[in-house]
Every structure is written in C-alpha cells, then in structure tokens.
C-alpha cells in the first residue's frame, strides 16, 4: 500500500524527521488559506498523486505571491497528470500540498528499502539528488552508497558514519544532522512495517540542516493489520478500481492490454498461463489468481471483472485442482455462467483431483460457448484460436 507525500510527511513529523512546513488542500480557497497560514514569502504548490515524476509533468510549481498560489492551484487542481510512473491516461489531481519554499544548498537522494539478497533493510543514498535513481545506478553506480542495517542490532553509529562520509559530508554539524536524520528514518521504517521510503530530493539548507523535500512511502500489506492508523491513510481512488474490487473477493487481478481473459488458481500458474498464451500467438487481457479455494461465487466474480474489459474476446479458465476437487470447480463454473452473462467463448482446462469427473460434468452441461481443453497447452491453443474467431 502506498500513501501520498503529505501523509508520509505527517509520519516523518511524528518521528522528528525534518521536513519543510506544509498543509494539504483539496480546494483553491483552502490552498490560499494554507499559503497565508504558512506565511511565505515563497511557496511550492504540489500535486498529490501516487506517482513520481510530478515536477516534470507540471504538477509541482513555485509561487512567489499568494496570488500566484491561487493561480497555480487553479491550474494544478483537477488537471490530469501524466508522468513516467503513471499510465498514458494519467492521474487526476484531487489534492494539493502547499509547502514552504526551502533554501536549497545541495540535493541528495535517500531511501530505505528491503535488500532481498541480504534479507535486511538497506539505506541507499546518493549525491545525485533529484535525479531518477535508476538512471544514476545505470550511468554512475559509484555515486550510490548502500548501507545495510541488520534489524537485530539496529541503526548504529558506524552506519551513520558510512552514510555521512559516503556522501562526502565533512562539516561536523552537517554530519551530526544527516546521521540523526537517517537514524530517525530507519526507526520509522522498522516501526511502521514500511516496504520502502524514498526521499528525492533530500536537501541541505544554507544552515546545514537536512530536510525531506519529498516523501514517498509504501507499506507491507501483510502487516497493515497491526497499523490501523496507516491503513486509514489508504486512498482507494489512487488504485485501479477493478483490482480493489477483485481483492474484496480474495482475487488477485492485474489488467493487461490483450484479448484473452485468464482465470487461474495460483500466482505462478496464472503467470505461466499468460506466458503460454503469448507464446502461442495470443495476448493475455489480465492476470487473475482465484486463489486456492475457487468456488462458484469467486469464479462468477472473476467472470464479471474480466468481462468489464471490452477487449476480451475469449476467456481461458485454467485450474489445477489440488485439495480443491475439479468436479466441484466444474460445478462452480456452470453456476457462474448462470449468474453472469458470459458472451465470449470460455475455454476450460481442469486438471488434478477428479479431473475426469469434471470433464464429464462440463460435457453434460451443454453450454454452447464452453470449450474443454485437455491440458495447459491444448487449452491455451484453443483460447488463442477462439479469440481469433476460429
């Protein structure tokens, strides 16, 4: 789960991680009021969407008067922002963050992420602030410092020194400030079960202080149960509506741009099914994992979500029944076709426990647009053919 910049900065503030002062606003008058409250003389008007690259897309602008705050707020609020991290359709800006302008002497990059190889969090930093960190990693990897921190020992002085010296910070007060900043950030990361925190840019002011000019945070979904305050920050309107709807029924769904709807049990087999369709000359319309306990209700919901996509020309149901018996799934599919109006060919491949009984049930159901696939390859081939109108 991701949150907005203004929410990340609320959490930063709670932990004493310095940020410029700012106020979230959902209307132009509120934005003006926020600017007045902050006092100026310079403000930054920032679009709040769950995507990076907002500045380049025209969603972050500097205002030098209250009047300019008003003008920029009118311009940005309600605009559709397209960045390298959004889809081509972009994202509608519904919230602004009005922030004090900062005295920027230097820009850095700072993040905390899980290092899957080391199996512990790592602090990643660079002097190349404000740049896309992936470009930095590719073009000048020597400018990236990685400091892994074992949670069993926590953030120690040497971690801080690695970071400060690595960034070439020689002033003792500045060293103290960056170390304190990183220490608080690491504490915040651990205590909130964050998946990642990214501050780009982190700035150094003329006074030698470090401020988080931006703040991006993502959390481990599996741990949200113990952080109700963070779960409450979830903004569903920033997420794909179909994915959210699917999740309510225990389905894991991701929309793609092809023509063959896929309904599969298990994430690996679901990806493998997409790959097989692609390999046979078709295009998958989605990833959909119905989970381990596919039944009539979940299958019906799956059909409904898949069929919302107008590009879908055929549906491939690929289930390897393990503990869940195939005959029960076959009955579920038949029930589902009664609940939902399925107007495209449905290719069903059921394998595993009680597969022969399941094939018999499907055959006897006499559903006109239902085609049985004997195995994964056969089912995928039939789905590709059906999508092409054969």
């Amino acid at each position: 789960m991701n949150i907005h910049e203004y929410q990340a900065k609320q959490i930063f503030a709670k932990y004493g991680v310095p940020t410029p002062k700012g106020i979230m606003a959902e209307s132009v008058p509120a934005a003006v009021k926020a600017a007045e409250q902050l006092g100026g003389p310079v403000w930054v008007v920032k679009a709040q969407i769950h995507a990076g690259g907002r500045g380049l897309g025209g969603g972050v602008k500097l205002a030098k008067s209250i009047e300019e705050v008003r003008e920029l707020s009118e311009e940005i609020l309600g605009m559709t922002l397209v960045t390298h991290q959004t889809t081509e359709a972009g994202k509608l800006v519904k919230k602004l963050y009005i922030e004090d302008g900062a005295d920027i002497k230097a820009e850095y990059y700072l993040s905390v992420v899980l290092d899957r190889k080391l199996e512990m969090p790592s602090i990643i930093a660079s002097t190349e602030g404000g740049m896309n960190i992936e470009d930095v990693a590719e073009n000048s990897p020597e400018k990236i410092i990685t400091v892994p921190v074992d949670p069993a020992v926590g953030f120690q002085g040497f971690h801080g020194r690695q970071l400060a010296f690595g960034l070439g910070i020689s002033d003792k007060t500045e060293q103290k400030n960056i170390i304190s900043f990183a220490k608080k950030l690491f504490k915040l990361y651990m205590e909130n079960d964050a998946e990642m925190i990214e501050i780009n840019p982190l700035i150094r002011t003329g006074a030698g202080e470090f401020l988080a000019l931006d703040g991006k945070m993502g959390f481990d979904n599996s741990a949200l149960g113990r952080h109700p305050d963070i779960e409450a920050m979830r903004d569903f309107s920033e997420e794909d509506a179909d994915e959210v709807e699917a999740a309510k029924y225990g389905l894991s769904y991701v929309a793609l741009d092809g023509e063959i709807g896929c309904m599969v049990n298990g994430a690996g087999l679901a990806m493998g099914t997409m790959d097989t369709i692609n390999h046979m000359g078709g295009t998958p319309a989605n990833f959909l994992d119905v989970g381990g306990s596919a039944n009539a209700e979940t299958v019906a919901k799956g059909f409904e979500i898949i069929l919302k996509n107008p590009n879908v020309k055929a549906i491939f149901v690929n289930i390897f029944g393990g503990i869940v018996r195939c005959d029960r799934i076959a009955n579920g599919i038949i029930e589902a076709t009664k609940i939902t109006d399925v107007n495209v060919p449905v290719i069903v491949r059921l394998d595993g426990t009680n597969a022969p009984e399941a094939a018999e049930i499907l055959k006897n159901a006499n559903i006109s647009n239902l085609i049985v696939g004997s195995d994964l390859g056969d089912g995928a081939a039939k789905a590709v053919a059906a999508a092409k109108g054969n």
Binding site: R116, E134, N221, R226, A267, G268, M271, T276, F287, F320
Partner: protein, 290 residues
C-alpha cells in the same frame, strides 16, 4: 533416496488444532507422513487426530523426537512460531501460512539460521518425497515415485510440473515448494546441491518467477556445480513492470528481476529453458533420454 525428508521423518504441527492445521495434518497422515504430535498453546495434554497435543514446541520435541515442524499458525504469529521451533531444536520448519509480515520473516529467518534450523516458505505448498512423506498442502496423488527432483516458487506450477513429469512416465524423488515471498527460507542455492548429491535424482526441474535474483544465483551455481540436467521455467515473461503478480515477491522493479534476464542466465548455465510450463514434461523426457 530423497532430500530433506523420508518415510522415517518425525513431524509435529504448529497450529495443529486449527481448521487448516487439522485438515492438512489429516491429509498428511493419510499419505503416510509420521505426524507424531502437534502444538496448540493451552491445549496441551489433549489428543487430536490420534496424536498428542503440547503447549510448547520444546515439550513436543522432547517427548516425540520430532525433527520437522509444519507451521499453520495465523500470519501475525508465524515469526514467533518459527523462533520457538528454532530454539526447541527443530531441524526444518515448513511454513505454509500465507501473508506473514516481511519484517517478522527477516527476524525469524535470522534467528533460525543462528540456531541451525532450516526453514521452507512461508506461503509455500511444502515438501513431498513421493510415496513416503508429505509435509504440506499439495495433492499427494499426483506425485509418483521416480527420478526427477523439483524446486518451485509456485504451488500450482509445482503440481503442473510434477503432473507432466509423471504423465511422461517418469516420477518425482522430492518436490520442494519454496514460496514466492520477498524473504524465503531454503531456495535453489541450498536445494540444488542436495539434489546433485541425491543418487536417485537424475534430472532437476526448477520453476522460478519474476522478482529478486534467486534464479540468477541459481544459474551461477548450476554452471559451476551441477552435472545433472536442469529443466527450467520462469513465470512472468508477460508481466508488466512495477506490478505485484499475486506473490508478494513477484515484481519487476525497474530493470531488475525480469523473466528475460533469468531465462538468459539459466540458458547460459546450460539449463534447458522452456518458454511455457506446458513444455516441462517433454523437456524432462528429452533431458533424460540423452
């Protein structure tokens, strides 16, 4: 022969009396697994599925001599359960539970390693030595005894792969589901040498997916140390960047963790890489008839 578990392996179940624990322990018992007891706090002294229930893992290990624990406790308690098993002297914890917080797994795995306990999972189907011992939730009947070892991040692809191998007239020595979470226990790097050393295993099927770099590490190991034929499939060639595909760890971040780079590395290491899981069975036949 087999790896890690066989017909003599003594197993306890943590979360024994819960719904999932009960159902799957029953299935394992029916398969022939030596489940010698289970742990549910405050139910110690009772009997469940004909086996004793203990309050603590330490007590269960002391009384039964179990070396493996199958863990079904709810996600929030997985870290705790794994650490308890490690301190009680369990040698291998098979963690079936899905949705354990990543932070808990970091701590638990580090603690397990400190105590010399191996872990498998979380969010995995478990491990099965065909026709001897099943510790997990896989459908036992599709695993016929044979000479192919299988390692997979995905549960249903484990079944798909094993089923194809058996339909081709071969069978399985041991099949291991390692799970697709960001932090997992035993992985390719630890399991490949076990299969290499197992005299009955003549071919290894390795099923991976997008995200992380475990498959890349495996490829490097295969190139240097594995003499047996390896058939590999990587799921997610058609997955979009930056999206989590069901498994928490299955995500292409930036340019890292793509199926293409993993497939290329495995190919370069001498493995037979198939582009669709539908081709696993045929590729195994080809590898074994060489």
């Amino acid at each position: 022969m087999s790896i890690l578990i066989n017909k003599d392996t003594k197993v306890i179940v943590q979360g024994f009396t819960g719904k999932e624990g009960t159902f799957h322990a029953e299935q394992c018992l029916a398969y022939g697994t030596k489940i010698v007891g289970g742990v549910t706090p405050n139910k110690g002294g009772q009997e469940h599925l004909g086996q004793p229930v203990f309050n603590t893992v330490a007590e269960a290990v002391k009384t039964t001599g179990a070396t493996v624990s199958m863990i079904f406790v709810p996600p929030a308690f997985v870290g705790d359960a794994v650490m308890e098993a490690a301190e009680a002297g369990i040698e291998l914890a098979v963690i079936i539970t899905e949705g354990a917080p990543v932070k808990d797994m970091q701590m638990a795995k580090a603690h397990a390693t400190k105590h010399g306990m191996k872990t498998l999972g979380p969010n995995c189907p478990g491990i099965i030595t065909a026709e001897e011992c099943k510790i997990g939730i896989m459908p036992g009947m599709i695993f016929k005894k044979g000479n192919v070892g299988l390692i997979s991040k995905s549960g249903t692809l484990t079944y798909e792969g094993a089923n194809q191998v058996c339909n081709e007239g071969f069978g399985i020595t041991t099949a291991v589901g390692i799970g697709g979470d960001p932090i997992i226990g035993l992985s390719y790097l630890q399991l490949l040498p076990m299969f290499e050393a197992d005299p009955e295993t003549e071919c290894i099927v390795m099923i991976g997916e997008i995200g992380g770099d475990l498959e890349i590490q495996a490829a490097a190991y295969i190139k240097e140390h594995i003499s047996k034929p390896v058939v590999a499939f990587i799921a997610g060639q058609t997955a979009p960047k930056g999206k989590t595909m069901g498994h928490a760890g299955a995500i292409v971040s930036g340019s890292a963790g793509t199926a293409a780079e993993k497939m290329a590395a495995l190919e370069a290491a001498g493995a037979t890489v198939v582009v669709s899981p539908a081709e696993i069975g045929k590729a195994v036949t080809k590898a074994l008839s060489k």
